[in-house]
Amino acid sequence: MEEMLEPNEMIIHLGPQHPMQPGPFRLNLKLKGETIMDAEVEMGYIHKGIEKILENRTYLQGITIVDRICYLVALTNEECYVGCVEKLLDLEPPERAQYIRVIVEELSRLQSHLLGLGEYGEFIGFVSMFMYTIKEREDILTLIDMVTGARITHSYLRFGGVRADLPDGFKEKAIPILNNLKKAINDYEEMFNSDTIYRERTIGIGVLSADDAKSLGVSGPVLRATGVPYDIRKVEPYLVYKDLDFKVCTETAGDCFARVQVRLNEMRESIHIIEQCLDMIPNGPIFPEGTPYGRRTPVMRVPAGEVFHRVEDPRGEMGMYMVSDGSDKPYRVKVKGPYYPTLQALPPLIIGTTVADMVSIAGSMDGCTSEVDR
């Protein structure tokens, strides 16, 4: 950002702490009146060095570390990490374990979207939305807690399976909660659609065209809101997603309103996926039989090699690049988070808008700074 300012221009530092932000990062805005002339993001307030930590931990210990990349989507992070190791080991989880993983990951997607919607309502002055969504999210977290034993950082996935089977009575408990959530999603949609202030602040704000979105490299709901049906669950199916019926939700407007609409529709699809899984889940073991892998795999050496594995995170495309040298610790792990390119695309999107719109645009990205800094 240029040091010299013209008359009427000023620099405002938004953050590192600001209610609009999903975590600490600093946004330096050059303003002329209320119009944003230039913007710059400063990162690094919660850099944890996760990639270096992973190099100094065994593969099994790594599962606990990747949880902490972003607590909202801990299960998807685990899926990405465990998927990498499974590819290196040439190990496939038994079908029951795959279904359980899909169930918990879709539940995790639901709770992430619910929190994202509530926070977004809060950012643009619709504070009661947060109270509505956090109530439903609590029910979803109870379900995840039932299976994994923890609300946010689970350490639940294992190489070749999951740590524990579904508890008794899970389906009976899950169905009413999901039915309740379906009604709630309709309510949210109606609330959003009928609220004049909300519509004023989102329709036509932060418009991103499909070509721009592709060249900026964004993914997830932000990309799908521009009409590009790009979803790793379809492009590169992992687990049992290829057997499940679900559609990729897209909108065409590419504005803040469309992004929220995509998330609402995705939640409906997630519920649909979970219902199918609960019906289709076969009985059987949760670890591959005839292999040493199980709940308490002691010291494990992974064959040398390298792998790049991608999964669909609630925020978009998540990837991990893992290099193994044949020892019991990964040689190098690169975590490619989904919000990283989206946050990078924020300055070009907000230049030319006003400060008030900037809050709406940044909020509609549904971010997680913890995952960007790692």
Binding site: G44, E51, K52, K214, L216, R332, K334, K336
Partner: protein
């Protein structure tokens, strides 16, 4: 477009710059690229082979071979193939041409690779620290010979 077509097209266009090309699976291909030609190859991938989506740029340190590798993962919105493009760089002068003019979102990835590994990206628009504090530039914490905790911390305390 499938993996074999892409590999053939790439090696046919750059017979000298691209080496050790191979197919890992239907959706994963790999190749080494000469570090002087990395940007040209990326431009060709984007223009002719529909690789319009840069997944990530990262570094890997191999002290035994006295090499650093810059690793690009490039994907596409049109086909499911992901290309892993690597460039070998000598450890004492790791320099490579920036691909920001080709892939806009390489900007932060290259900044991060620079501060963590010391790989210098030539003609990068804004090559400075991203997640680390400015005064840690020069320590290259993700290289394998970085002392780190607890040695460094203890020395600082004395």
């Amino acid at each position: 477009m499938d993996a074999r077509t892409i590999i053939e097209s790439l090696t046919g266009k750059f017979p000298e710059a691209v080496s050790e090309a191979g197919i890992d699976s239907q959706v994963r291909i790999r190749a080494y690229v000469d570090r002087e030609k990395a940007k040209e190859v990326c431009q060709y991938l984007k223009d002719s082979l529909q690789f319009d989506h840069l997944c990530s740029v990262c570094g890997v340190d191999y002290p035994q071979r006295n090499e650093l590798e810059a690793v690009y993962h490039i994907a596409s919105f049109e086909h499911p193939v992901v290309l892993m493009l690597k460039a070998r760089l000598p450890r004492d002068s790791p320099e490579i041409e920036s691909v920001v003019p080709v892939y806009w979102n390489a900007n932060w990835y290259e900044r991060e690779t620079y501060e963590l590994f010391g790989i210098f990206f030539r003609n990068h628009p804004n090559l400075k620290a991203l997640v680390l504090p400015e005064d840690m530039i020069g320590e290259w914490p993700l290289r394998k010979d970085y002392e780190g905790f607890p040695n460094r911390t203890a020395r600082n305390l004395v």
